[in-house]
């Protein structure tokens, strides 16, 4: 039973990562590509869970889980930083609609 769960998690994680790479190759523009790149953290988590199920709590499994948790937790912040850079390159600033004084914006 443990082998089956390990194989399912490993194949799922691998396929998810391959789909992410395919999406980054095929999609046009950084925003569309970012959707796929950001999902790769979950593929890492699936692979780490496969190692955890296979080995139980060993040194390798603990560190793999810590690595995957780091990537899954910081992935959204990284995606935001990249999207922010893309938007500033595209429009000149982060939020071009807020150029005027606060009173002018309310009009």
């Amino acid at each position: 039973m443990r082998t089956v769960i390990t194989d399912v998690l490993l194949i799922g994680g691998g396929l998810l990562l391959l789909v992410c790479a395919l999406g980054v190759l095929v999609m046009r523009g950084p925003y569309d590509k970012l959707h796929y790149a950001s999902a790769s953290g979950w593929g890492t988590l699936l692979v780490a869970l496969a190692i955890l199920v296979h080995e139980s709590f060993s040194l390798i499994a603990d560190k793999a889980l810590a690595t995957a948790a780091l990537l899954a937790a910081c992935g959204p912040a990284l995606g935001h930083a990249t999207a922010r850079a893309a938007r500033i390159r595209e429009r000149g600033e982060w939020n071009p609609s807020h150029r005027g004084e606060p009173a002018e914006r309310e009009k």
Binding site: L10, A21, V24, L34, S40, E55, T67, A68, L71
Partner: protein, 83 residues
Amino acid sequence: MNAWLIAALALLPALLVCGVTCFFSAAIDGLVALELASTLSVVELMLLSEGTGRQPFIDLALVLAAMGLIGSVAFARLMEGGP
């Protein structure tokens, strides 16, 4: 060759795809591909560590994950003003 090493081998084309995107796309698209390549390299090291039973690879994966995140954020900040 066990299942972990086969999975590591199967993920190599994904790294190649990221390299192709970095070379032939715009700079900001290349940054996205670089972030994915960083994650894929971490997974490759995790799989190699489990497949070969050598613990130093998982330490490399942990350090690469942290350095990759910091490097990607630094690249993104640089690209806000660069060409």
